[in-house]
């Protein structure tokens, strides 16, 4: 081995706090982990979503309370986050289905479908964000 060999950082046991911030993920990797993270987020906030559903349906007065709650900027922001997580998860899921059905495992296909997921999500996130302002 020549002494001129550049020393590259070695990643052995992945340390959550040290390495995760430095690891370079390809777009397909981002699509995968964001699909998982958005699913976990949706599952975690499921009671909040059901609470919104409950308040909106139960009665006129609770609907009014529901609308009032959504007037609060923070609540609206969390609802928007839920929506974005749902869109990410939905489009990521469609990507999974396309990969399942077509069996195309080529790197460009994985990359392009991942980018398509991000673009679709971003566009709709902005659209809904503006609608919800």
């Amino acid at each position: 081995m020549s002494e001129q060999t550049k020393s590259r950082p070695e990643f052995r046991n992945l340390n959550l706090f040290r390495d995760v911030a430095r690891y370079r993920l390809p777009p397909a990797g981002w699509a995968s982990i964001l699909h998982r993270a958005s699913g976990a987020f949706l599952c975690l906030l499921l009671p909040f979503a059901i609470w919104l559903f409950d308040k909106s349906l139960t009665s006129e007065s609770s609907f009014a309370a529901f609308s009032a709650a959504l007037d609060n900027g923070f609540v609206r922001f969390v609802a928007w986050l839920l929506l974005v997580a749902y869109l990410l998860h939905l489009f990521g899921g469609l990507r999974h289905l396309v990969l399942d059905v077509t069996h195309r495992m080529t790197k460009p296909f994985g990359r392009n479908t991942a980018l398509a997921v991000f673009i679709a999500t971003a566009v709709l996130a902005v659209v809904f964000g503006i609608m919800m302002m």
Binding site: R36, G39, C43, L46, D54
Partner: protein, 121 residues
């Protein structure tokens, strides 16, 4: 001797993962379609959405039918998904058993609540 290895292995019996894999895919497809149905329902109601119109979307029996299935689909879909997450990150078996149980409690509670919300209409 029958060829039961490699691609021809028998994927029936306990814990080959096929059922969860298919349930996750099928419930995902169903939920996507349900979203489209709900979206169309909302977009096709004339005028601004108020309480009466919103209730009117979920009152018909066919919509309750579809929504009930959607609730169950979410629960099972989330269950398989969360199981994969815990399998990857919670290695000690005892800890994972506890977390699995808590996840089941979480999801079943949500299911019951959502069904109760739907059926008060």
């Amino acid at each position: 001797m029958a060829m039961t290895y490699g691609p021809k292995r028998l994927a029936v019996g306990a814990h080959y993962g096929w059922r969860d894999f298919l349930v996750q895919r099928m419930s995902g497809v169903y939920l996507g379609l349900y979203t489209v149905v709900l979206l169309l329902d909302v977009l096709l109601t004339s005028g601004p959405m108020d309480h009466a119109k919103w209730v009117g979307i979920f009152t018909p029996q066919w919509m309750k039918f579809l929504t009930f299935v959607a609730i169950l689909a979410v629960i099972w879909h989330a269950w398989v998904g969360m199981l994969s997450i815990w399998y990857d990150y919670a290695k000690p078996t005892g800890l994972r058993l506890l977390i699995h149980t808590l996840t089941a409690v979480w999801l079943l509670g949500c299911a019951g609540w959502a069904v109760q919300v739907l059926w008060q209409l």
